[in-house]
């Protein structure tokens, strides 16, 4: 299975680099070398600390994409409805490999295949909040373990809430004759 490549250069990174360099220059000019070095050393320590976890995150991302077929995730969600369907959709969002270019088409495919709106919403919400790829590759290196665990402790409820709310709103709107 071909995986979409991350571009080696992107505007987001360029923009952030420009902001960071400006800030670093301001600190150097305003506060002098000692403060500049102190900030650098403090953050380099954090960075070196997270490198092994980042490495593991990248390998988990690649291997699970190679090993878990997307069709399996789609089948998993389409098959169940009710509260169980929302729980399964949430679980599928967590293990769904790939980025936005693959996740949304899969969610669109559920709907075409007849999965209910709530399950599709729960799946997308779960992927955005709990999807392992973003958490391991991005959030953990930036924020560190404690913060991520803190955020993740409350997050599993949200895909279910959004799914239930979505079902309710879709029903309410349908009662007024608008089909979603």
């Amino acid at each position: 299975m071909r995986r979409p490549r991350r571009k080696p250069f992107d505007w987001s990174t360029a923009l952030i680099t420009a902001c960071m360099l400006t800030a670093a220059a301001v600190v150097y000019v305003r506060d002098g070398w000692d403060r500049f070095a102190a900030v650098f050393l403090g953050d380099v320590h954090i960075f070196v600390d997270i490198l092994p976890k980042m490495g593991a995150g990248c390998l988990i991302g690649v291997f699970s994409t190679l090993l878990i077929p997307r069709e399996m995730v789609a089948r998993l969600v389409g098959a169940e409805s009710g509260f169980r369907g929302l729980v399964i959709a949430t679980f599928a969002g967590v293990i769904m490999p790939g980025g936005p270019m693959t996740v949304y088409p899969v969610a669109g495919a559920f709907l075409v295949a007849g999965a209910d709106v709530g399950a599709a919403l729960a799946f997308v919400t779960s992927w955005t909040l709990l999807g392992y790829a973003r958490v391991l590759v991005w959030e953990l290196p930036f924020f560190g373990t404690n913060f991520v665990l803190w955020r993740m402790a409350v997050a599993p409820a949200f895909p279910i809430i959004v799914g239930l709310l979505g079902r309710y709103v879709a029903k309410a709107v349908a009662a007024r004759g608008v089909k979603i």
């Binding site: 992107d10 980042m54 291997f63 909040l129 391991l136 924020f143 409350v154 979603i180």
Partner: protein, 165 residues
């Protein structure tokens, strides 16, 4: 200690996945290791810029500004500002996470930063406009966005309830 456990757990998962790939054969292990290595190379400079650079951004920002706006006493108003900022943040994960870390380092309270990253994950305009609307029916996307509005607030509130682990 927690960080060590998570690190060990991640590498245990890697070992299991590599073992499964080895059983499947067909050069999966080599492909996986090589692509993982390439991803790591691509990611490292971005994370380095974000993590190291955010320290400088935090040093430049006067702490009383962000501390007042998004600090521990900013309450619902601070959460609302954080959520709005998250939804409006342009660009990919480098931008979203760098801004979040810089805010955290310059005096924003963690629940507010959790509201920010949650809102960014749910609503980031660029992702919704360039990927979601293209692949899903527009009505469904609207329904998802509307039903997700309470979530950043619930996330901040939940984080406050359980407290720092």
């Amino acid at each position: 200690m927690m960080a060590l456990v998570v690190g060990a757990l991640l590498w245990a998962i890697v070992v299991v996945l590599v073992a499964v790939a080895a059983l499947r054969g067909g050069g999966l292990v080599r492909t996986g290791l090589w692509e993982g290595f390439l991803d790591f190379l691509r990611l490292t400079p971005r994370v380095a810029i974000g993590v190291v650079g955010s320290g400088y951004v935090a040093a430049v920002l006067p702490p009383e500004v962000l501390g007042g706006l998004l600090g521990p006493k900013s309450g619902l108003f601070g959460t609302a500002i954080a959520a709005l900022a998250g939804a409006l943040t342009p660009g990919g994960p480098v931008v979203g996470f760098s801004v979040g870390v810089a805010a955290l380092k310059s005096g924003a309270a963690p629940p507010q930063v959790i509201a920010y990253t949650t809102a960014w994950a749910l609503f980031a305009i660029q992702r919704v406009a360039s990927y979601e609307v293209v692949a899903m029916p527009a009505k469904i996307v609207w329904l998802r966005v509307v039903c997700s509005i309470p979530v950043p607030f619930l996330a901040a509130w939940g984080a406050m309830l359980i407290g720092r682990p």
